[in-house]
């Protein structure tokens, strides 16, 4: 549960006035989303934890520069994004690895065609394999699609906030978001529809 913008603003004022212990309370609701953000970029748990810790430390040191007209969560996500990106750049300069191998912006990605799909029951999420399947699919998106998708559909920023966080246009957010969603649909629907044997992907008889 978040504290609400007014309480948050009051807590931040108190922290800046010297009650630093309140910082623990301030960030508790955001631990998970900062970690998710980090993990979807750096792709392994140990590095993601590192990035998350650095994010919260940096936010603490720069708390005085937080402007209360922004949302604290959005501000934190921005710091996490920078932290994750700079770590990726450092790693890439060591490995000379290419992160983005499908960089063409144009062209259409056809979705997975299916005949009998209703829904994936939410109980499915209790299964470790399903969680891992979704996590893997998000993580495997090319970087520029992954960052838009994670901000918009996992962190649930709106389109304008996503555009601001990534310094790209609203139009670009929409295009990349669409492609990311279709890529996930294409990749996941055939996998997820095997979960319930009563709903076959292709009729057998």
């Amino acid at each position: 549960m978040t504290l609400g913008p007014r309480n948050e603003a009051q807590i931040i004022v108190s922290i800046l006035a010297g009650e630093t212990q309140l910082y623990h309370e301030l960030i508790r609701p955001y631990e998970r989303s900062v970690y998710m953000m980090a993990l979807s970029f750096v792709k392994n748990e140990a590095d993601a934890e590192d990035v998350a810790q650095e994010t919260f430390l940096k936010a603490f040191h720069h708390l005085a520069s937080f402007r209360s007209e922004a949302k604290f969560s959005t501000w934190l996500v921005g710091i996490a994004l920078n932290e994750a990106r700079s770590r990726l750049r450092r790693a890439a300069s060591v490995r000379m690895a290419s992160i983005d191998n499908t960089s063409q912006e144009g062209g259409r990605i056809p979705p997975a065609i299916l005949r009998d799909w209703r829904e994936v029951p939410s109980e499915a999420l209790e299964r470790m394999e399903v969680q891992q399947m979704l996590q893997k699919a998000i993580i495997s998106l090319p970087e520029k699609y992954r960052e838009v998708f994670v901000l918009r559909d996992v962190e649930e920023l709106n389109i304008a906030e996503t555009a601001a966080a990534l310094s790209i246009s609203v139009g670009n957010v929409k295009v990349r978001l669409h492609r990311a969603r279709v890529m996930l649909q294409k990749q996941l629907v055939p996998l997820l529809s095997t979960l319930n044997p009563k709903r076959r992907w292709i009729p057998w008889f």
């Binding site: 631990e31 979705p111 299916l114 005949r115 829904e119 994936v120 939410s122 998708f149 559909d153 629907v189």
Partner: protein, 78 residues
């Protein structure tokens, strides 16, 4: 204006976000009402978004909070 399936696929994301113009939304809706393939694609995409927005996807590692707050304490008291 008549849309084919491929045009509708291009609109799925905007349809889900409610960012289509009212006219376009009507046309897409009419197509979806009679096209099972497109409505299945729409439903499956929507379901995937519901699943990926679920917090359970990215579980925090065991001890994550304890380590984080211990490190913060170190910094705050130093």
């Amino acid at each position: 204006m008549v849309l084919n399936c491929k045009h509708v696929w291009d609109c799925i994301s905007d349809y889900l976000d409610g960012t289509l113009s009212p006219e376009m939304r009507d046309v897409v809706q009419k197509h979806l009402d009679h096209c099972e393939i497109c409505s299945a694609i729409l439903d499956s995409t929507r379901n995937i978004l519901i699943l990926t927005a679920d917090d359970q996807i990215f579980e925090l590692p065991v001890g994550f909070s304890e380590r984080l707050h211990a490190r913060l304490d170190q910094v705050m008291t130093s």
